[in-house]
């Protein structure tokens, strides 16, 4: 019919052909039969896997590994991961899950491969007991992840700022400055009196989280939720005790008010605007990344005030949507093996959750050059096996967000400690009900 001149027909054909080709191109990432398999690993922060990938790829020439999200913020990573899981598409073949979020993913285990079906049971001895149990569903029938690291606690400090304030700079002497949090506040007051132009600590939220996990770990072993999943923010003495200690710190004007993980926080690292920061093992990699090479040798690590504690630590899981589950499981097993955990520790500092790795001379004798050759192995690994984990309930993340925000409002002078406590309790209840 004359409606379509030949030229137009040709154009239509061309468009159609292009469309077809493009669609075909989209399917191009599917490997050809027997060809190399590309495994995507989704991480946040610094997991320290780059060299391990190289090693794994050298041993498995048919596997190519791509890591996404390196250096990213957990707050941006977790919603993305949840969306991918909900959509049934988009997640990597191996995904990192932080312990605070694990509970929510564990409530819907159908999204993940049951690692017990893939010979994970025999690996149980490779993990600290509580770390293994954390990833196990309530009925004990599904294991959704293999543990990577635990967050043994320390206190990182800038020795140059300590020197300027006339405080001791040797890590052993610094540790002796603060056996308790009250001593930490007293040291902070001395530091503040010296007018170095820097704050004593970064902001209220990190220190609060450290104290609450430590206090709860040393007491009943739970903080916002009890082990029967009742919200106990207002009735748990451990939470209130941590709150009061944090308020003492704020009351003494020691905080720099740099909201943790914000751009100002990163700038404050670069400009040496605070002297101490609560330092779970994984934080060492974050400090190095934020403060940059210029601050090498200016940071050091001392004991945390109070007694031990665990903050954070992650797991590697394989989503059911992965097209290469078998290969992904193998990779996850390799990365969480003693060897993988030692490699990660050496690269970026996350402390192994593998008891054999914790005893390994490679960990025990390791020093961190960035932190003035601090014996990180001794500092972190020593307490790791006796770590007292804290139980996390179903809406842990949402509740923690509310409580931390309340702490922050006091830090910024928007609320009095008592008003903020009321906010924390009420908002936590509201968040838990959502």
């Amino acid at each position: 019919m004359g409606v379509f001149p030949r030229r137009r027909l040709a154009a239509v054909a061309l468009v159609a052909a292009t469309a077809l080709l493009t669609t075909a191109g989209c399917g191009g990432d599917e490997p050809a039969e027997g060809g190399p398999v590309t495994l995507t690993v989704d991480v946040f922060g610094q997991m320290g896997y780059q060299e391990l990938y190289q090693e794994y790829m050298a041993a498995h020439p048919d596997v190519k590994i791509v890591e996404r999200g390196t250096g990213g913020n957990l707050d941006e990573y977790s919603p993305k991961l949840t969306q991918w899981l909900a959509a049934g598409k988009g997640a990597g073949d191996v995904v990192a899950i932080e312990e605070g979020l694990l509970v929510e993913y564990k409530a819907n285990p159908q999204n993940f491969v049951n690692l017990l079906d893939h010979g994970a049971a025999e690996l149980k001895g490779n993990f600290l007991d509580w770390k293994w149990n954390q990833a196990l569903t309530a009925d004990g029938k599904q294991l959704i992840g293999l543990g990577t690291d635990v967050g043994g606690m320390a206190m990182c400090y800038r020795s140059d700022l300590f020197a300027k304030a006339g405080l001791p700079t040797q890590r052993d002497e610094v540790s002796k400055l603060w056996p308790t949090w009250q001593d930490y506040v007293a040291t902070g007051e001395k530091f503040k009196a010296a007018n170095t132009g820097a704050a004593f600590l970064d902001s209220a939220t990190n220190i609060f989280n450290t104290i609450v996990l430590q206090t709860a770990g040393n007491a009943q072993g739970y903080h916002y939720y009890d082990t029967a999943n009742n919200l106990v923010v207002d009735s748990n003495p451990a939470v209130r005790q941590a709150w009061d200690t944090t308020m003492d710190i704020l009351d003494s004007g020691l905080s720099g008010k740099y909201g943790s993980w914000s751009e100002e926080w990163v700038s404050a690292f670069k400009q040496a605007k605070f002297a101490t920061i609560a330092c779970p093992a994984w934080m060492t990699g974050v400090i190095e990344g934020n403060a940059g090479p210029a601050a090498k040798g200016k940071w050091d690590i001392a004991q945390v005030p109070g007694n031990g504690g665990n903050w954070g630590g992650s797991f590697l899981a394989v989503p059911k949507q992965s097209k290469h589950q078998a290969e992904a499981i193998e990779l996850a097993k390799f990365l969480t093996s003693a060897k993988g955990q030692i490699g990660a520790f050496k690269a970026k500092g996350p402390l192994p959750s593998n008891p054999q790795a914790l005893d390994d001379p490679a960990i025990v004798d390791s020093k961190n050059a960035y932190f003035s050759d601090a014996p990180v192995g001794k500092i972190f690994a020593a307490g790791a096996k006796s770590l007292k984990p804290v139980y996390m309930g179903p809406k842990n993340q949402a509740v923690r967000t509310e409580v931390e925000n309340a702490v922050r409002t006091v830090d910024l002078g928007q609320r009095s400690p008592e008003q903020a406590w009321t906010d924390a309790v009420n908002n936590a209840k509201k968040a838990a009900a959502k």
Partner: protein, 338 residues
């Protein structure tokens, strides 16, 4: 939107002369009759897939207790809506949204009008100026928001440094409610004033010159000409700009979201100082609540709010312009998107 801005009479295919033999032209007549529908079909198809369906589906989701990850989503009827209407954080976000909308849109449209009238004069390198006002619009919103986020930093920000130079105390732009509204409005205006100015300029150029000439002969000043000739004749364009700004302003997300960094930026500050409705929707539908049903209910109320505010806008503008119907002026068709 129920507002018809420039309704033109629909073009009906005209019947060809019946003197021609019908058989030969049957195809052609079918073509005449149906192909117009075919031509507009792509829009409706796309709208159906990407507009109407998500709208309806969102409503369906909003009637359920829809945990994003859960396998089952029980039906709860209007419960999400009743809870939402009694949720102070939601109303807080509504006030934030309206506040930011007002303090960004009102000065923005006046500035755009003023810029357009400047650009409409005889200027040297006129095209350069006209292109220049659009440049902020071409930059990525996220980049703008990050740069402004740094400029408005409490401790290291340039704005506070400048304020310090003139002896004003540092303002905590991110955790002071009104200050954060101002900072975000500055971002929005920086980006959209030039765009609106170009739209107004295009409409101004369609105003016949002789109106101004005769007004000048009658001794009307420039300002009087502007208010008595330009503004009334721009009314349809102004309505268009206001409605589009309303839609954009009430859906504001990227600017306030990127303005905050650190933990939980989606809250828009520790006390939700600049959390807009879309951010509240996001907070509920995604991290940390993953309550898709509740988030969907927020989306629907946002839709209702936009419709209400747009209707109010139109009523006010109708009143302002006296009794004449809007004069038809050519307007750009490009949709403003954020």
């Amino acid at each position: 939107m129920a507002v018809q801005l420039d309704a033109l009479p629909p073009v009906t295919p005209t019947e060809r002369s019946t003197a021609r033999p019908p058989r030969r032209y049957r195809l052609s007549r079918l073509d005449d009759k149906y192909s117009p529908y075919l031509y507009i079909a792509p829009f409706f198809l796309l709208f159906g897939v990407f507009g109407a369906y998500p709208l309806a589906y969102t409503f369906w989701v909003s009637l359920h207790d829809w945990d994003l990850l859960a396998a089952e989503h029980p039906f709860v009827g209007g419960e999400n809506y009743t809870r939402l209407l009694a949720d102070p954080d939601f109303w807080h976000s509504v006030v934030n949204t309206l506040g930011i909308f007002v303090i960004s849109t009102v000065p923005q449209l006046f500035a755009a009008l003023w810029l357009a009238s400047l650009l409409n004069r005889r200027l040297r390198a006129r095209t350069t100026w006209r292109m220049a006002v659009l440049v902020p619009n071409v930059t990525s919103t996220a980049a703008v928001a990050i740069v402004f986020g740094v400029l408005f930093g409490r401790q290291f920000g340039m704005i506070n440094w400048l304020l310090d130079l003139v002896g004003v105390d540092a303002i905590d732009w991110k955790s002071n409610r009104f200050a954060s509204w101002v900072a975000i409005s500055a971002m929005v205006d920086w980006r959209w004033t030039g765009y609106n100015a170009l739209i107004f300029l295009a409409a101004m150029q369609a105003i016949p010159r002789d109106l101004y000439e005769s007004a000048a002969i009658d001794g009307a000043s420039r300002a009087r000409q502007f208010w008595k000739i330009t503004v009334p004749l721009l009314k349809p364009t102004i309505i268009f700009a206001v409605i589009v700004s309303t839609i954009g302003g009430l859906q504001l997300f990227t600017e306030p979201r990127m303005f905050h960094s650190g933990t939980n930026p989606i809250r828009g500050g520790p006390l939700r100082e600049s959390q807009t409705m879309t951010m509240y929707m996001f907070e509920n539908a995604f991290a940390p609540h993953y309550n898709f049903g509740y988030g969907s209910a927020v989306a629907w109320l946002l839709f209702a709010l936009i419709a209400i505010v747009a209707a109010i806008n139109v009523v006010i503008l109708r009143r302002l312009g006296g009794t004449d119907g809007p004069t038809r002026v050519r307007r750009p068709r490009k949709e403003r998107t954020r």
